[in-house]
């Protein structure tokens, strides 16, 4: 019985290792191109504006209509929600979006965007908050269709190591399924543990051209002098890395600082 279990454990961990290795490899391939783009962008910015560029110079067009993977695919934006603080910060950005796009003409264009919120399946609180937000923003949000996608947690508290290998694998697999189902154009995450596998999916998906996802990482405002673990892992990989304290921008030159965002 125990022998069988450890065999299964070996197979699963080998598969897991292979998956991780593969995604690291492709991510490394992507890394070069991403960073070149980021550096070029940052050089352009620092030369045009002084050190900290004012947010006015960011462009805000209510367009991206030609966007998406083929006909009938609405531009899809995926938000990864974590728990308490992470969720609150992320939903603040969603509210900010509705505030910025109030003039959208619903009669002309109907639903223009699709928002996908990824939550852990045991996290009813975050889902509740999403539903509340859309109820409050009913009029302003009429150009957005939304969906809550649930993925199981990689590890519950006090779970044994052997079974947690298995549940991590399930969690990874369901991230892949959710990712492939929606194939987001933009993935926004702000640092909960669940965002790392989703970002890996996005980078891997782009490497094999199943999607064209851009990844935006926003470090939490709670991080003043040191990045979170997710931040450290994703710093080299994502398309846009945004921090909310000037000190972090100085120590991490590939990040952007636009002031405090929440």
């Amino acid at each position: 019985m125990s022998g069988q279990e450890s065999d299964v454990g070996h197979v699963v961990s080998a598969a897991l290792a292979a998956a991780v290795f593969l995604s690291v490899l492709t991510s490394l391939c992507l890394l070069a191109s991403n960073n070149i783009r980021r550096r070029r962008k940052l050089v352009a910015r620092t030369s045009s504006a002084e050190a900290n560029m004012p947010p006015e110079s960011l462009s805000l067009d209510p367009l991206p209509h030609a966007c998406g993977n083929g006909a009938g695919h609405k531009p899809t934006i995926m938000f990864v929600l974590g728990s308490g603080g992470h969720t609150a910060e992320m939903l603040h950005f969603v509210r900010d979006w509705f505030r910025c796009m109030p003039t959208f003409d619903e009669n002309q264009r109907g639903i223009a965007y699709k928002f996908v919120f990824v939550v852990a399946s045991t996290d009813n609180h975050s889902e509740q908050k999403v539903l509340e937000l859309f109820k409050d923003a009913a009029r302003g949000a009429s150009h957005v269709e939304y969906e809550v996608a649930k993925i199981p947690r990689a590890r519950e508290v006090r779970q044994s190591w052997v079974t947690s290998v298995f549940t991590t694998f399930i969690a990874l697999l369901s991230s892949v399924i959710v990712y492939l189902k929606h194939r987001p154009d933009v993935l926004v995450c702000n640092g909960p543990g669940t965002c790392v596998p989703m970002c890996a999916c996005a980078l891997f998906g782009r490497a094999v051209a199943v999607a064209t996802t851009s990844v935006i990482y926003v470090e939490s405002v709670a991080r003043v002098r040191h990045l979170s673990l997710s931040g450290k892992l994703l710093y080299w990989l994502v398309d846009r890395f945004i921090v909310q304290w000037p000190h972090l921008q100085q120590t991490h030159p590939l990040s952007e600082y636009h002031g405090r965002l929440t």
Binding site: P55, L58, S59, L60, D61, P62, L63, P64, A66, C67, G68, N69, G70, P75, I77, G84, G85, A88, E89, F93, D96, W97, R99, C100, M101, D185, V186, V188, R206, A209, V210, A211, T212, T213, S214, I216, V218, S220, V221, A222, R223, V224, R225, H226, S228, D239, R240, I242, W245, H258, G259, R260, L261, T262
Partner: protein, 151 residues
């Protein structure tokens, strides 16, 4: 502590003490001494209403609570849990003190901080930058559309 608060003119102490085993002494049932002044509850999904009525907020070092209190322009003392490892919350509390928005304290010196606090000279929090994330998203939507895809 209650005496110190009363000396500053505070008449009511509302306490959210969480779902843990610990029950503050002043919230215990057998302690009638502070009944008039202390009002306790375990948890509310939102403290916004209570915060709006408060003159002074004593909070843990979570970013959510800190910025919610400061956005309302409230006097704030942030209590750092110094028993946590890798304490990024302490960094935030100290940064907010260095910028003059709030005071930082630990459980052991909270009373001193209350007594020496001078909220008249605090600098108010500047409003957050709005519109940054939406514009970054729309920039990236354009980048995503420009990428070659397989369909």
């Amino acid at each position: 502590m209650l005496r110190a608060l009363r000396a500053f003119g505070y008449t009511k102490l509302r306490v959210q003490y969480g779902r843990g085993k610990f029950v503050p002494r002043a919230c215990g049932e057998d302690d009638g001494l502070f009944d008039e002044m202390v009002d306790c509850f375990r948890f509310k999904p939102s403290l916004t209403h209570d915060m709006q009525r408060a003159g002074l907020i004593i909070s843990h070092a979570g970013a959510g609570s800190i910025f919610e209190a400061l956005r309302m322009g409230k006097n704030l003392i942030v209590v750092i849990n110094d028993r946590l490892m890798d304490n990024h919350q302490a960094e935030l509390a100290e940064e907010m003190q260095a910028l003059g928005h709030s005071y930082a304290a630990t459980c052991s010196n909270l009373l001193d901080v209350i007594q020496s606090s001078d909220f008249g000279s605090r600098t108010p929090l500047s409003p957050e930058q709005l519109g940054v994330i939406p514009s970054v998203i729309s920039e990236e939507l354009r980048h995503a559309a420009a990428r070659p895809s397989q369909d």
